[in-house]
C-alpha cells in the first residue's frame, strides 16, 4: 500500500462507506437526470456539470484517489450497493421506455468496449474488427433462431463459439504484422465481413434478418412486462436485466483476467514485446487469446442485441461501429474498467442528448469527442497500477 494514498484518504477523515455510498448514489442520480433531460437547457446544464466534475478531477487528482481508495476499502459495500442500484433502477424510470432503451444500448456497448479493451487496453492491439465479431455473433444466433428454431439460450454459446473461431482466425495475421499494419488487417477483415453480410443471400442481404423471436426464461417471455411487488416494468426491463447481467459477466472476466498472470502478461506485451518474450511469455499465443476473448464477449453482446431489436442488418456492423467502440475505450481510459464503461455510456447517451442540435448532431458529437480527447488525454479514468496483498 503506497503511503501517499493512505495519507490522502485519511486526511479527508471520511469513512470509506460514506464516500462509496455518496458517490454511487450521486452517479446514479446524475445518470437518471441525464436520461430524463429533454430540454436543451437541461442537457447543456448537465453536460456542463459533467465537464465541471472532470475539471475537478483534473485539478485535484487527490479527489480521484480518495474515491478509488474508498471503493477499495469498502469493496463489499460498493458491490452490494451497485447491485441494488442496478436492480431497482428501472423503477425510477417509471414508464420511460426510451430511457430504458438507451440504458440497454449503453450496457451492450459497454460490454463491447470492455471486450475491445482486452486488446486495445491490455495488449495495445488496435483491433478494428470488434464490430465484425459483434455482427458474426448477432448473425449466427439470429440465423440459428430463425432457420432452426433454436432458443436464445442455445444460440448464445453457439454464437460465442463461432465468433471466437473467427477471432482466432483474425489473430493469426497478428503473429507477423504489427501496429498500423495490424490495424489495417483488422479494418480489412471488418469490411470484408460486413460486405459479405450485405451481399450474400442467406444472410438476408442488405435487408438483413427480420423477425428474430423474443427469448423467454422459465416460461416468461421477454416481450411481456415484469411484475414485481405489484409494480409493472415495461418489457424492455427484461433486456435491461439481461444486458446488465452480460455487462456484469464482462466486468467479472475483465477483473479476473486483469488480476491474474494472464492480464499481467498482456500488459507486458503492451509495454515491450521483445522483453516480454524473454520473460517466457508466448507473445503470439497471448495476442491470439486477446482476439478470442474479445470475439467471445462481442458475440454475446451481438446475440442480445439481435434478440432485443428482433431485427439486424449489415448496417449495424459497419467499420464506423468498430470505430465508435474504439472511441469509447479511448475516451473512457484504456485498461480501466470503470473508465471504459463510462466512455461507452457517454458515447451512447451523447448523440441522443445532442439531438436538440438536429442536423448538426453528428458535428457536435464529433467536436465533443475531440474536446474530450484533448482535455483528458489519458481518458476519463486513466489506467491504474495493480496493488497486492491488501485486505
Amino acid at each position: 500500500m503506497s503511503t501517499t494514498l493512505t495519507q490522502t484518504a485519511n486526511r479527508t477523515g471520511l469513512p470509506a462507506s460514506l464516500v462509496v455510498t455518496v458517490t454511487e448514489i450521486a452517479a446514479a442520480a446524475l445518470l437518471l437526470a441525464f436520461l430524463a433531460a429533454e430540454s436543451t437547457v437541461m442537457v447543456v446544464a448537465l453536460l456542463a456539470l459533467m465537464g465541471a466534475i472532470f475539471a475537478g478531477l483534473q485539478l485535484w487528482p487527490q479527489l480521484e484517489e480518495v474515491i478509488v481508495r474508498a471503493f477499495h476499502d469498502a469493496r463489499a459495500l460498493a458491490t452490494a450497493l451497485a447491485l441494488i442500484i442496478i436492480l431497482i433502477y428501472p423503477f425510477f424510470l417509471g414508464n420511460n421506455t426510451y430511457a430504458l432503451h438507451l440504458l440497454i444500448v449503453a450496457l451492450i456497448y459497454s460490454t463491447l468496449a470492455l471486450a475491445l479493451n482486452f486488446q486495445l487496453g491490455s495488449v495495445n492491439i488496435p483491433n478494428f474488427a470488434t464490430g465484425a465479431t459483434y455482427g458474426i455473433g448477432a448473425y449466427t444466433s439470429a440465423l440459428l433462431a430463425i432457420n432452426f428454431g433454436w432458443s436464445f439460450w442455445a444460440t448464445l454459446p453457439a454464437a460465442a463459439i463461432t465468433a471466437t473461431v473467427f477471432g482466432f482466425l483474425l489473430g493469426i495475421p497478428s503473429m507477423r504484422t504489427r501496429d498500423s499494419y495490424l490495424a489495417l488487417v483488422t479494418i480489412a477483415f471488418g469490411i470484408v465481413i460486413q460486405q459479405l453480410l450485405n451481399n450474400l443471400s442467406w444472410t438476408g442481404g442488405a435487408n438483413g434478418l427480420v423477425g428474430i423471436p423474443a427469448p423467454s426464461l422459465f416460461g416468461h417471455s421477454f416481450m411481456s412486462p415484469i411484475e414485481i411487488a405489484g409494480r409493472k416494468l415495461p418489457p424492455q426491463a427484461n433486456f435491461y436485466y439481461l444486458s446488465a447481467a452480460l455487462l456484469g459477466l464482462a466486468i467479472l472476466s475483465a477483473k479476473r483476467l486483469h488480476e491474474s498472470r494472464v492480464g499481467l502478461a498482456w500488459n507486458a506485451i503492451r509495454a515491450d514485446e521483445l522483453a516480454a518474450k524473454c520473460q517466457g511469455i508466448n507473445v503470439v499465443w497471448y495476442k491470439i487469446l486477446a482476439f478470442g476473448v474479445d470475439a467471445f464477449l462481442a458475440a454475446f453482446a451481438g446475440t442480445i442485441y439481435a434478440f432485443y431489436i428482433s431485427y439486424i442488418s449489415p448496417d449495424n456492423f459497419t467499420f464506423l461501429v468498430s470505430v465508435t467502440i474504439m472511441t469509447m475505450v479511448i475516451v473512457g481510459g484504456m485498461d480501466n474498467t470503470l473508465g471504459v464503461i463510462l466512455g461507452a455510456f457517454l458515447l451512447t447517451m451523447l448523440p441522443e442528448k445532442l439531438r436538440v442540435f438536429s442536423d448538426y448532431r453528428l458535428l457536435f458529437v464529433s467536436v465533443v469527442v475531440i474536446l474530450f480527447l484533448i482535455l483528458r488525454p489519458k481518458g476519463l479514468f486513466p489506467q491504474r497500477q495493480r496493488h497486492y496483498g491488501e485486505k
Partner: protein, 305 residues
Amino acid sequence: MDSLFLQYLLNWLVLGSIYTLVAIGFSLLFGLLNVIHFSHGDVSMIAPFVALGSLQFLLGITSSTVGIGPILLVLALAILVTGVIGIAADRLVISRFRQAPAMMALVATVALGTVVRELIRGFYPQGSNPKAFPSIVEGFVTLNSLRLPALPVLIIATTVLVIVLMAALMQKTPIGMRIRAVAEDAATARLMGITPSRIFAFTFFLASAVGALGALFFASYAGVVRFDFGVQLGLIGFSAAVIGGLGSMTGAVLGSLAIAGIETLVQANMADGASYRLVFCFLLVIFMLCVRPSGLLGKPVFEKV
C-alpha cells in the same frame, strides 16, 4: 490495340494514379511522421468544393465561360487552401496527441473527419447534394496512332510528374531526412537545429496538397463530388499506402496499382464481380499483409537489443 483492353488499361492507371496521390499523403504522414491522420481523405475532399465554389464565383463575375487560365488558377487555389487546412488540422487537433498513444490520434482524426464532412454538408450551399464536377480537360489527345481521351492522360501524366517531383524532393533535399528525424526524436532533432513545428507544417501541407490533387482528379474523373466521398477514398488510399509499405513512395504507387488492378480485374472478369469489389480489395489487403507483414517495400525494422 484492342479497344476494350485499352479502356481497362487506362481505367486501371487512372484509378491507380488517384489512389497514389492519396496514398502518398498517408505514407508521408504515417510512415515518416508516425501520425495517423484518418481524416486525410476527408481533408483532401475539401479541394473539389473549394474549386467548385471559386469557379462559381468566377462565373458569377465574368458571366461567360472560363478559359484554361482561370481553371488552373481555381485548381491551384483549391490545392493551396486544402494544404493550409491540412496544417490547421494538425495545429488544432492532431498536434495535441504527439506524446499520446497512437490510437488517440487515430480516434481523434476519425472524429475530425466527421467534423470536416458535416461542415461541408451543413455550410456549403446545399451541401448534402451531389455536385456535378466538370472535367478538367475535354476532348482527345493523339499519341502516335492512338486516340486517347484527354482527362485520363492528364491524370496519369500529372501523377507521374508529381511522383518524380516528390521523389526528388525526398532524395535530393534533406527534407525527407529531417521529417524522419523529427518523427523519431523531436528533442534531439531540435538539438540538430530542426524546428519540429515547421517540419510538421510542411509535411501536412505537402500531404494535404497532393491529396487535394488526387481528390480533384477523383471528382473530375467521376464527374461528381459529394461531401462524404472522402471516406472511401481515404480508406483505399490508406490501404494502398500500407500494403505498399508505409514511408515508401514507390510502395504507395505499387499498392495503389495493386488495389486499382484488382478492382478492375474483378469487375471486368467476374460475374457479380462489381458487388464484391470491396471484398476483393480488402481480401487482397489481408493476403498481402500476411505474406509481407511490413508491406511490399516497407523495411522490416530489426530490433537491435
